[in-house]
Structures are given as structure tokens and as C-alpha cells.
Amino acid sequence: MLVKVKCFAWAYEVTGSDEIEVEMKESAKVSDLREILSQKFPKFSGRMESIAVSINQEFVGEGAIISSSDEVALIPPISGGL
């Protein structure tokens, strides 16, 4: 399946796009997504752990299952406020 992944802050700079498409097997998990992205974009190396993943605008854990209709996003460490 093809999954759309939004990329924010420096994740955008790493992938070069604010939304990428990632080919994944059905019922893939967040941990699978990390693996695929780390291989595809070596610049994630050493920084992937600091990224949180959201599905449909909620933060999710490594075991969460992704479906092709989900809104998936990469959330680097945040720094809102002052």
C-alpha cells in the first residue's frame, strides 16, 4: 500500500518535501515506517528516535498499525511557546 507521510520542521528538510509517499506492506506498523524511512533517507540516522509519529493527529506508539487512508506525520521535537 502507498501511505502519505507529512514531514515537519527538520524532517521536511531531510526528506525535501512536506509530504512523501511511502510504499509499505499491509498492516505495517510505526516501527516499520521508521525502518523504511531510515533506509530511504540516511540523514535521519541518529535522529529518527527523537521523532514522534502521529496518526490522524494523535501521537501513537511503535506498535500502532498504519492503513493507507491514515493521515500520518513525522513530529520532530517541538518548540512552541516562547
Binding site: 521523532i51 501513537v60 506525520a73 520532530p76 516562547l82
Partner: protein, 146 residues
């Protein structure tokens, strides 16, 4: 309860009187202003980026948590994104309550919570280039509404 992400300057005077005052008692506000120095470096300007739909959702979660935790009658959060100059307001929070303790705590809780769960990012531009500020890797175990 008002949560807003805006891309134009925040006019505090517009927001400061937003709540009907008759039964309020205590108002506590927090204003976050872009500083001219950060981490020992001179700042020329900042860029705030956001995942807007999720940020608004997480700001609503923040005010709802604050309302559950403290006896506040009303709460406002306005966060600006885009390019901000030194001295401009990035965030404004206003908590209203019958009693000062709740107003202070809800206001403080809100700014702290924003920094934990609201997807907004700050890129600082200074003499030595630009850098993403990474205050807080999101700890998903801390996200659950308590």
C-alpha cells in the same frame, strides 16, 4: 474556551478583555515574546512552523485538561506562526477563574503543556545561521489526557 493559531501579529489588548468580567475574580495572562538573544547568540528573527490541524486539536486538549485540573471558568490560547521579529508576541494565554490560585495554575499549566504536546516548531535565525530549536521530544506516554 478559545484556541487559535494565527499568522498575523497578536494584539494583546484585543484579547485581554475577551471574557465577560462580572463573575471572574482573577485573570492570569502569559505573553511569550521573541527575545533578541538566545543561547548566547544574537537573534535576528524566528520562524514558527506548525502542523495546524493537529496543533489546534492539541491546544483544545490542553485547555480541556486545564479546565479539568483547575477550577477555571475560561481559557484562551493564541499562538502565532510564520516569521516573527524580535519583540513580537509568539504566544498569549489567558486564564479566568473565581480565585487566583486556579488562574495562575491553569495559565502555567497551559504554557508548559503546549510545549509538550502541540506540534509547533521554532527555527531561530541568528548571526551564525539558522537552527531548529528542539525543546522537547514528544513523550507519547505524557500525551494521554489526565
Amino acid at each position: 474556551m478559545i484556541c487559535k493559531i494565527v499568522d498575523s501579529p497578536i494584539d494583546i489588548t484585543e484579547w485581554m478583555n475577551i471574557f465577560e468580567s462580572k463573575s471572574l475574580g482573577a485573570l492570569c495572562s502569559f505573553t511569550g515574546i521573541v527575545r533578541s538573544e538566545s543561547r548566547g547568540q544574537k537573534v535576528t528573527h524566528l520562524e514558527y512552523h506548525t502542523y495546524k490541524e493537529m496543533a489546534e486539536k492539541k491546544m483544545l486538549q490542553t485547555v480541556s485538561e486545564a479546565k479539568n485540573k483547575y477550577k477555571v471558568s475560561d481559557l484562551l490560547i493564541v499562538h502565532r506562526v510564520g516569521t516573527l521579529q524580535v519583540g513580537e508576541i509568539a504566544v498569549f494565554i489567558l486564564a479566568a477563574s473565581a480565585h487566583r490560585d486556579a488562574a495562575f495554575k491553569a495559565c502555567r499549566f497551559s504554557i508548559d503543556r503546549i510545549k509538550q504536546i502541540v506540534p509547533i516548531w521554532k527555527k531561530e535565525y541568528g548571526e551564525e545561521g539558522a537552527v531548529w530549536i528542539e525543546d522537547c521530544p514528544v513523550d507519547i506516554t505524557q500525551d494521554a489526557s489526565s
